[in-house]
Point group: C2
Chain length 200, copies 2
Amino acid sequence: MSSSQRKPARRSTGARRSAEAEEAILQAAGEILQEAGYAGFSIEAVARRAKAGKPTIYRWWRGKADLLLDAYHRQKPEIPVPDTGNLEEDLTVFVGTLLEHWRTTPSGNIFRSVLAEAQNDEAAAEAVRDYALDRRDHIAGIVKRARDRGEVASDTDPHAVAELVISFAWTQLITHRWPGEAELRAILRLIARGAKAERA
Amino acid sequence: MSSSQRKPARRSTGARRSAEAEEAILQAAGEILQEAGYAGFSIEAVARRAKAGKPTIYRWWRGKADLLLDAYHRQKPEIPVPDTGNLEEDLTVFVGTLLEHWRTTPSGNIFRSVLAEAQNDEAAAEAVRDYALDRRDHIAGIVKRARDRGEVASDTDPHAVAELVISFAWTQLITHRWPGEAELRAILRLIARGAKAERA
């Protein structure tokens, strides 16, 4: 299991999944996203292509946004989590790669559309909130490694650091801005310095 | 002019505005937002109520989102910018008040809807991007005051600090999360510490 894989815990509980059917559904969802983008994505279309029943999908995913986020995440190339021994560097590379991925592939618009839907739809909002928490845990892992090597103050909460990193990346996406290398580094340096500083 | 008022510079250039007509349009836009929310807001409805021509509105605002953001901003109570002599405290109070305002008034949903529209509409995206930059300037002012009193490292860019503050607040809104007092403070402490730390 890759380190960037999402935790199954966030998926709906209940019925034991058939691994094969799950794979077929995610495969179909990914293909539809690639071919038709967000606008062409629906539970119905996924069910048809995966030869699965809609109820099966609804038993395992909480709705369109939930399934879409799983498919979106699977398509994302593994964003490298460098382990350079320097938190500022690790975070700068991580966020830079993520923004570049959003900017140069359909992924950016797909994720934007999910975020848009989450503003007016409760199920989508819940899916996005869970996804944010999942990504926060993932980034907190980078911070914990830095803490283990003594680069982060003992009273720094890795999740708070991760929250800032995600907030910055997502806000760049939704405001359609692509920071240059210098601006990106200045921001991540600020976060890394904050993580490092002992209480005054 | 209050310190939180937006710079006229972000508005469309060209025709000299009549202050009276502008006031009537903003007044009408504000009333419609209050009465009918985002869903009932349109350039047409504002023009009708303000007894203004639609071309007049389009000459001064770049579209619905642009006018809506002006009306939204006017309705926001002045968020106090405390000057406690402590950056962490100033930022915590500022962001806490903003989130509370979003959480307890229709403002939160209105702003969410504009952000949603900006994900699929170029004119709305431009209006939101300008609004973000305007708010960043405003918050950078808080940081500059802290720098003037020697509380911020000389090589810290106040705009980078402000960017993090805005990103955090906006991301809480779009992921429908309302951090508790302790979480809020931990985040703003991290930012304030980062701003304070001299280059290692």
